[in-house]
Amino acid sequence: MVYCSPTSLIVGTILLTAENLSCIKQDRLLFSQLNFSVSAGNGLYIKGENGAGKTSLLRILTGLSQPAEGSVLWQQKDITSDFEEYATNLVYLGHKLGLNGNLSAIDNLVFWNTVNSIDDTTDLYELLSLLGLAGLEDMPVNRLSAGQQRRVSLARLWLKPAALWILDEPFNALDVQAVELLIDKIKSHITGGGSLVITSHLDMVTRLNCDVLHMEYNI
C-alpha cells in the first residue's frame, strides 16, 4: 500500500474533483450540479445554513453516500473504481466520532492505527498529552467530556499521513486552546501540500485562507 503523503504532492495539482454532484434526501433536492475541485495545498470551506446539505455533501465526498447524480474523482479517477486506494488517502472526521465508548482512548487509537495499516511510530501518550488529554489515556472514552472525546478523535489527523482531510464541524465542543491547536495543525497540513474540505459554523475558518463554497437551503 502506497501512501500519498502530503509532502510528495506538488502544490496546485488537483486532487479531489466533484463533478455535477446532486443529492436527494427524503425526496428533497438538497443540491444539484455542484462542481468544484480541491488541489494540493488548498482547502475548501463549505458554508451554509442548517439543512443546506453540508454534511450530505461531505459524506458523498468521502464515498460513504452515493450522490443521486454525478461523481467524485480522486486524482481524476472515480473514487468508486478503487475505493480502498482512495480511503488510504483520506481522513474523515464526522459528527459521529468513531470511538467506542467502552474502550480507552489508547485502545481506540491503536485499533484505528492497525486497521488503517499505520505503523506505530508516533508515541500515542505524547500525542494525547499534546491534545490536552494527559492522564486520561486509559480511561473509557464515554467517561470523558464531549470536548475531550472530540480531541481523541482529532488525534487521527496526527496519526495518518493522508493527503485529504474531510472534516465535518471539527471545532464543535472544543475549547479555545484546542481550536488554536487544530487550526495550527490544519495550516501546517495545507502548507505541507495537503488538501482539506471543512464545514464549520465558526468563522475561525476564514483564518485558513480557504476557498469558500456557499450552499443555500434549497426548497
Binding site: M1, T62, G63, L64, S65, Q66, E84, E85, A87, T88, L90, Y92, G94, H95, K96, L97, G98, L99, N100, G101, N102, L103, D107, F111, W112, T114, V115, N116, S117
Partner: protein, 222 residues
C-alpha cells in the same frame, strides 16, 4: 490483512467480556424459553422427547435473534463502522469477521450448554448428537442471513420487532430440516440427508451473504 483481522477479533472479544454480561443474555433467554415449555405443555418425559428438538431449535432461533440485534449496532451508532469502511480494508471481509466472532460469542455458549437442554427435554444421546450437529451447522447460517436484516435496519430506531418479522420466515426451512434430523435420530434412522441440506444452505449463505451484508450496511450508511 491478518493483523487487521486479528485486531478486530481482539476488539470484539474485549468489548464482549469487559464487565458486561450482554454476551450471556441470549443464552439465558434461550434457557428460560426452554424451561417454559415443560411448564406450559406437560412435564411428561415422552411428550418432552417428542417436542424437544422443535423447542430447542425455536429457542435457539429466538436467542440468536436477540443476540443479532446488537451486532453492528453499537459500531454504527458511534461511527466506528464508518471509520472501518474508510480504513482501506475490504469491507465485506471485515464484516464477515465481525459476524463470525459475534456467532462465537453469543451462540457458542448455547452450543456448549446444549447437553443441558437435551437433559431438560429428555433427549436420547443419539438425538443429542443430531441436535448438536444441526446446531453447529445451522446457527452460523442464522447469523449470516440475520446479519443482512440487521444491517438493513441499522439506521432505524425500532429495530427489534421489524427484525423478527424480516428474519423469522427465512429461518423456517432450517427449522424444518433440523428438527426432522433430530426426529430421525429418535427413531434411530439416518439423518445425513437433512444434515447435507443444512450444510448446503450454509455453503450458499457463506457464498452470498458477505457481499449482501456489506451492501446492506452501505445502504444504512447512505
Amino acid at each position: 490483512m491478518i493483523r487487521v483481522l486479528n485486531a478486530i477479533v481482539k476488539r470484539e472479544f474485549k468489548l464482549a467480556f469487559s464487565g458486561s454480561f450482554d454476551f450471556a443474555l441470549p443464552l439465558l433467554f434461550g434457557v428460560m424459553v426452554i424451561s417454559l415449555f415443560p411448564l406450559g405443555v406437560s412435564p411428561g418425559p415422552e411428550m418432552l422427547q417428542k417436542i424437544g428438538a422443535g423447542v430447542i431449535w425455536v429457542s435457539a432461533i429466538l436467542a440468536s435473534l436477540l443476540g443479532l440485534e446488537k451486532l453492528f449496532r453499537e459500531d454504527f451508532r458511534d461511527g466506528s463502522l464508518e471509520q472501518l469502511r474508510l480504513s482501506g480494508q475490504p469491507f465485506a471481509v471485515i464484516l464477515l469477521v465481525k459476524v463470525v466472532v459475534h456467532w462465537l460469542i453469543t451462540v457458542g455458549p448455547i452450543l456448549i450448554l446444549s447437553p443441558l437442554f437435551a437433559l431438560f427435554l429428555n433427549l436420547t444421546p443419539l438425538m443429542f448428537e443430531a441436535l448438536f450437529l444441526t446446531l453447529l451447522l445451522g446457527t452460523p447460517m442464522l447469523s449470516l442471513v440475520g446479519a443482512i436484516a440487521v444491517a438493513l435496519t441499522l439506521s432505524l430506531e425500532k429495530g427489534g420487532i421489524l427484525l423478527a418479522l424480516l428474519m423469522l420466515p427465512l429461518f423456517i426451512p432450517l427449522l424444518i430440516f433440523a428438527t426432522s434430523a433430530v426426529n430421525n435420530a429418535q427413531l434411530q434412522l439416518n439423518y445425513n440427508g437433512q444434515l447435507g441440506i443444512i450444510a448446503a444452505m450454509l455453503m450458499l449463505a457463506i457464498a452470498l451473504t458477505p457481499w449482501s451484508i456489506s451492501f446492506a450496511v452501505k445502504v444504512s450508511q447512505n
